[in-house]
Symmetry: C2
Subunit: 322 residues, 2 copies
């Protein structure tokens, strides 16, 4: 089994290191955080400095996983360019177009396919992670024009080894989707919490389940929320404009006719569609891993398909029945 070298051992990187080890793969890591390093070592993991980790990766032809915040990615890529310039490479950063651009610029000979596991908790750092964090979660693995089957397979196999289901997609489609289903929810949670608190202690005293759930992710560390939302600026602006349009239309309807039928009915149908996707019957498809495989996988991913297994010659995909 191919070795895995994880750079950054916070919530996500630390969970990847644990899960890959549980899957039986040789693993080591590096982190700029002394606290994360000490905790990982105390649990028996092999944590060294970044230069040593990357040199070892180059020798072993290991898969290098960049698991730092977006703001630290450029510096890590520079280190990789120095010590392992043609590495097999993936990352777990929450936006993909900016990381893809940096890799093309700084690491033209790396065998790279970007990734993004859709899992997390409100807390951060090594101690918040777990080898089970990704069980059953979606994990986007990016298909761009220059992505090779070799690099994509390595990134996808890591996701499967971590217990996740692989969603093949392009970087820009990924960034647009997560603006809607991850970054906008964080912005909504912040705005909702603020409007509630503006109502004073009586409002917060009367707040119950709808407010608790709607504001939960506002409890996430602000620097993490800013890194992911600000890092996906263009796609998030589109999603915010859609939301402002819909909320403004609801406001207009409530003010003029007193009714909210359209907003409430559409939202209910959308939530149903989301629930149905998780629970509905699913069809199976098998994709031959030939020269057109990545394009075919990307199409299936954008229809809601997920890769559940890879063999030497095929990918097993499940699709929602629509």
């Amino acid at each position: 089994m191919r070795a895995v070298c994880v750079i950054g051992l916070g919530l996500i990187g630390g969970s990847v290191l644990r899960a890959a080890a549980t899957a039986g793969r040789p693993v080591w890591g590096a982190t700029a955080s002394e606290a994360d390093a000490a905790e990982a070592r105390a649990e028996g993991f092999d944590v060294v400095d970044a230069e040593s980790a990357l040199r070892r990766a180059a020798e072993a032809d290991a898969l290098v996983v960049v698991a730092t915040p977006l703001t630290a990615v450029r510096e890590v890529l520079r280190q990789i360019a120095e010590h392992a310039p043609d590495a097999l490479l993936t990352d777990v950063v929450s936006v993909k177009d900016p990381v893809d651009a940096e890799v093309r610029s700084l690491l033209p000979s790396a065998r790279y396919a970007g990734g993004h596991p859709m899992a997390g908790v409100s807390s951060s750092g090594w101690s918040a992670g777990s080898g089970e964090l990704f069980a059953g979660a979606a994990w986007a693995v990016i298909v761009e024009e220059n992505t090779t089957l070799e690099a994509w397979r390595e990134a996808a196999q890591l996701a499967l080894d971590c217990g996740a289901q692989v969603v093949p997609t392009s970087a820009s489609a990924h960034d647009s989707a997560v603006a809607r289903v991850s970054h906008l929810p964080h912005l909504f949670a912040a705005v909702l919490a603020a409007v509630g608190a503006d109502g004073g202690p009586l409002s917060l005293s009367l707040a119950a389940g709808s407010f608790r759930d709607g504001t939960r992710v506002a409890g996430t560390a602000p620097e993490l929320v800013r890194a992911m939302t600000e890092g996906n600026r263009v796609a998030l602006l589109d999603a915010v404009d859609d939301a402002l349009g819909r909320l403004g239309a609801a406001r207009g309807s409530l003010a003029s006719t007193g009714g909210l039928k359209s907003t409430v009915d559409f939202g209910h149908a959308a939530r149903r569609a989301f629930e149905d996707l998780a629970s509905s019957e699913r069809a199976s498809a098998t994709v031959q891993l030939n020269a057109t495989a990545l394009e075919r996988l990307r199409e299936l991913g954008e229809r809601g398909g997920r890769v559940l297994a890879l063999s030497a010659e095929t990918a097993s995909v499940e699709l929602p029945v629509t």
Copy 2:
């Protein structure tokens, strides 16, 4: 113990009937739903037609609880005016100013104090209810200028018997608060679900915890969401305008400077304030139930205080320490 007559046996009314019975109070009810009536009778409850229920309430001087949707309240109040015009009366409808106005108009001699338990689930009907639904929940009991101590005590005692904590407040302060912490969250959930679904199957396939939590209450029956949001139109417009202002400011900041610091930091602090209110140290106060008691209780409620017990002469209140 004073008997309780519940009109409307859906999620909330059915749960009140069960909880009051568990507390040892004589209970009976009526409902326009044949299905709810049959299920309640099958569990051994005394369910009759509304006229019989109200006549019995007049004879026994029972507390009458209006537990229908807002749209049915006027018709029920007309029946009460006919069969029990000077009843002890409360209600569990989600807006309070409109119900208060109807009661003043149709039932001038009723001994009325409005109420609103802040508990619920996404499903509806008798079968969705439970005698434990209100355990530890906030239950607003309304203090208006013409509210008598007798009527307020009866409504508050019912809430305490159901396991809830009583939040004394005025009708308009209640309606403003729930617009922010209950009705706006429902509108946000609907808009968020719609923006997510607009992203197609890929978006919903990548959606995880933040989207699931942020859209949960969009799964509530649309007619219930419309009844409560449209019924609180004026206060909800204020809350929506605050939300539009904050979301628009975030949009402007993201577009111009690329930053969301102010939005994210303020939302995080607001969520913290909400969590702290639930977990922080609390001070105790005792209010003598004299002529100025209701005004004093209302003040404490608007500072986040909750009544945890009533005796013949005092109310025991807990307040957040700030």
